[in-house]
């Protein structure tokens, strides 16, 4: 069968590079996306930090402005008419309550001295504090000179930082005194910075030297990410509000997403790798398979034995190259063919069909079947076929596998050997006959020679006239005994011949014909001749020597087979017919050969006449002698269908 070995696609280098690049790009894109998201988040954070910080600053600003206004109002009232109004303290207290950032309020006179102790300083934190702290005093002077409320720089007291708001009051254009509100940075921030801000950021007040004066945060100091600074004015003096964002607890969904992406990426890579390994294994397996396949194919192609597989219906499903070579047909011409196959010889069709049916029924003999096939060019060949069930991979019986061996050469050799043997036997027979003839000739020659010599001697002496009667009598006696001796030799030959007289017994001619056909059938098949029997149903019994009769039939059939060797195999048909005739049985042996030339026909039954190069010319002569010894008759006629018909009769009895 001509099938090309399937070639595996060669793996190009890009085969693996492309997915690798794709995966790399994908990971890169995911990373970029994450980075961008992060950036965006940071930006948003920054924006919100700035906004929040601004908002807080505004809040502080607003608070300070409001408390300044209230302080101005209070100062107006204090330095106005009723200086020692008892309700003033209550107002101060209420004021302090409304402004928790203020630790205490102090009233200073025009010289900057505390007006009084009570209610000069209201509040608890600043108890005993020196109002004349340098920074406060500077602010006092500045405010006195400018006439505007002024914030002091920060100052420390008791580990805590403060600043002061100094609001001057003028009465009738003269400086009457100032109210000083001391702010604690800590408290201010604690009061003014809302909880949500503190939740996110740390807000600190830092002076020009970078010293933190107070801060608020609800979160623990961690790694800082962002920081925003805005000037804290008022109170000014280089104070800066610093909002620091700490790394908040990272958001769970985002982390999950990232994790998922990373996990997915890893999964993709892992699956790619697994795929690659799988592919590699597959590839190896395929390679091994193709190698194995190629090996098997090579084995199969190098076989001399033809192989052909048929399915259960007898359809050809596979043939190997040896079978194609043997038959001369291409695999394509044979595959899927149902019987009759193109390589069946037409004249053997029935036998082949029968063998085919037997093999499909699983009754093919294990020693093989011999069939005659034809090649595409019409040449015949003998094949020995072994059939075995074809079991497929699932263990099902799928058809029949046949191995076909061309045994033409072997048979030819056998035939040659047989012919050689025959020739040898023939030669041996000839030699024996020659020797026998020579012996007989010698034995008869001896007495004849003696007789001749005696006679000549007698004549010589009679002519010379000196033959006495006694001597003549004696010699004549010798002559007679030599003549008798010759007679005895002849009688011995006759006795020898008489010993092979037919042994007549009642016999069934049809049975004899069938026996003879059985003996010669193998030979006939070898030589491509079909023997057709046309036996009459009821034949009279014949008294005959069945062995001799068989000899006659064998001889006639062999002649017929020889006569048809030049014919086409399909035409080689030998018909043996028996028929009842009025006084016995008539037997025909009809061939379809070339027939017999007229001059040969006349001498056909003569002894030592033969048309065959090796013939002794005794066959037909002996046949006729045998038939005649059975009181029958034998003759030859031309076959109307071509060839000759040898016919003989045997009387019933």
């Amino acid at each position: 069968m001509e099938t090309t070995v399937p070639r595996l696609p060669k793996l190009q280098p890009w085969y693996w590079t492309v997915p690798r690049i794709a995966v790399g790009l994908f990971v890169l894109a995911v990373i970029s996306l994450l980075w961008l998201l992060h950036r965006q988040e940071v930006e948003e954070q920054r924006a919100s930090l700035i906004g929040d910080t601004l908002w807080v600053e505004q809040n502080l600003h607003f608070n300070l402005s409001r408390s300044q206004e209230q302080l101005q109002q209070l100062g107006q009232d204090f330095f106005g008419a009723e200086r020692a109004n008892g309700s003033f303290d209550a107002r101060i207290r209420s004021y302090l309550l409304n402004n928790p950032g203020i630790v205490h309020v102090q009233a200073l006179d025009a010289d900057g001295l505390p007006v009084r102790r009570d209610p000069g300083v209201v509040g608890n934190a600043a108890q005993g504090e020196n109002p004349r702290t340098e920074s406060v005093y500077q602010a006092f002077r500045l405010s006195r000179s400018t006439g505007l409320p002024t914030f002091s720089a920060g100052h420390e007291s008791g580990g805590e930082w403060f600043f002061a708001l100094v609001v001057p009051h003028f009465r009738d254009g003269r400086h009457a005194g100032s109210l000083v509100a001391a702010y604690s940075f800590r408290k201010l921030l604690a009061d003014q910075v809302p909880w949500w801000f503190a939740q996110k950021y740390r807000l600190s007040v830092v002076d020009a030297n970078g010293l933190a004066l107070g801060s608020k945060s609800n979160i623990e100091a961690g790694e800082e990410t962002l920081r925003h600074r805005i000037p804290f004015d008022p109170p000014g003096h280089g104070l800066v509000l610093v909002a620091t964002a700490y790394q908040s607890e990272t958001s769970l969904p985002r982390n999950l997403l990232t994790l998922a992406i990373v996990a997915l990426g890893a999964g993709v890579l892992a699956s790619l790798w697994a795929q690659r390994r799988h592919m590699q294994k597959r590839l190896d397996a395929e390679q091994a398979l193709s190698k194995e396949y190629a090996f098997r194919k090579a084995m199969e192609d190098s076989l001399f034995t033809g192989l052909r597989a048929r399915d259960l219906e007898g359809r050809i499903i596979y043939v190997n190259p040896a079978f194609c070579r043997m038959t001369g047909f291409d695999a394509a011409e044979l595959l899927n063919r149902l019987p009759p196959m193109p390589y069946w010889a037409p004249e053997e069709r029935e036998a082949t069909q029968a063998a085919h049916r037997r093999s499909l029924a699983g009754q093919s003999p294990s020693e093989g079947v011999e069939l005659r096939f034809q090649r595409k060019n019409g040449e015949r060949f003998d094949a020995l076929i072994y059939e075995a069930p074809l079991i497929d991979a699932e263990g099902r019986h799928a058809g029949w596998m046949g191995s076909v061996v061309d045994i033409t050469e072997r048979k030819r050799a056998e035939e040659l050997a047989r012919q050689q043997q025959e020739k040898l036997q023939f030669t041996a027979r000839l030699v024996t006959m020659g020797e026998m003839a020579s012996t007989l000739a010698h034995e008869i020659n001896q007495p004849l020679s003696a007789i001749s010599s005696y006679t000549t001697g007698c004549m010589n002496r009679l002519e010379a006239g000196d033959l006495p009667r006694d001597e003549l009598r004696e010699t004549l006696g010798k002559l007679a005994s030599q003549a008798q001796r010759a007679g005895r030799v002849i009688r011995r030959i006759y006795d020898f011949v008489r010993r092979s007289e037919p042994q007549r017994a009642p016999c069934d001619v049809n049975a004899v014909v069938e026996d003879a056909v059985g003996l010669i059938e193998g030979d006939a098949r070898k030589r491509g001749v079909r023997i057709v029997l046309a036996l009459a149903e009821k034949l009279p019994t014949v008294r005959a020597d069945s062995v001799m009769l068989e000899q006659v039939l064998l001889n006639l059939m062999r002649n017929g087979i020889d006569a048809m060797q030049a014919m086409q195999p399909a035409e080689r048909q030998l018909i043996v017919r028996t028929a009842a005739v009025e006084d016995g049985v008539e037997i025909d042996v009809a061939d379809c050969g070339a027939g017999i030339a007229a001059e040969a026909a006349a001498r056909l039954f003569e002894p030592f006449f033969s048309t065959k190069p090796e013939g002794m010319g005794m066959g037909l002569n002996i046949c006729r002698s045998i038939v005649e010894s059975h009181k029958g008759r034998m003759w030859v006629e031309a076959n109307p269908a071509g060839g000759s018909v040898f016919r003989f009769t045997l009387p019933g009895g």
Partner: protein, 199 residues
């Protein structure tokens, strides 16, 4: 010993018939039933002709012929051959047998052949005898007489011979007379004829 036809055949009737036949033509004959019996009686001086059957029990005629050839017998042999033996008989003739006749034979022809073979044998015999006497006569010549005879045979005159041998003319004449006397001839021509087959 008188020349005769010697018959060797294992068939008694043939022997008897042939003896009868030869007697009818006055040819002396003797018969042996086998080659072995003949060999036992064989002598070198048998004269005549051997009539041998080709095919016999025991030693065949051809074997006997070969044996006689080896022993240097010069007896002419006529084979009697059967139908299948002709090639053998022809081979024997090529080896020196006188002739063969095929059975059944024309009897008087066989006798004629036998007689002619006997004649040939007799002629052989005579020549052999003549040669023997010539050789003995030559041995009687003295060396000097041989020298003179060679020159006579060369056709030289007495004078030339005398000069060559450095002897007197008279002496040559004496030698010449002696030579003629010893060789039994009367002239130089006779001497030359006598010795033509020799030397």
């Amino acid at each position: 010993m008188k020349p005769a036809a010697y018959i060797v055949d294992d068939d008694e009737a043939i022997r008897d018939a042939l003896t009868w036949l030869f007697r009818s033509r006055h040819v002396e004959s003797r018969a042996w039933p086998s080659a072995e019996a003949f060999l036992a009686d064989w002598r070198d001086d048998l004269r005549g002709c051997l009539v041998l059957d080709v095919r016999m029990g025991g030693m065949s005629g051809l074997q006997l012929f070969d044996l006689l050839c080896e022993r240097g017998a010069r007896l002419p042999v006529i084979f009697l051959s059967g139908h299948g033996d002709i090639p053998l008989a022809v081979a024997a003739v090529k080896k020196g047998a006188y002739d063969f006749v095929e059975k059944p034979f024309n009897d008087n022809e066989l006798v004629d052949r036998v007689i002619s073979a006997m004649g040939v044998d007799a002629a052989h015999q005579e020549r052999r005898a003549g040669q023997a006497s010539l050789a003995s006569r030559l041995t009687q010549l003295t060396p000097r007489e041989r020298e003179v005879m060679d020159r006579i045979l060369a056709g030289k005159y007495n004078k030339v011979i005398a000069d060559e041998l450095n002897i007197a003319m008279r002496t040559v004449e004496v030698h010449r007379a002696r030579i003629f006397e010893k060789m039994g001839v009367k002239s130089a021509v006779e001497l030359a004829q006598l010795l033509s087959g020799k030397h």
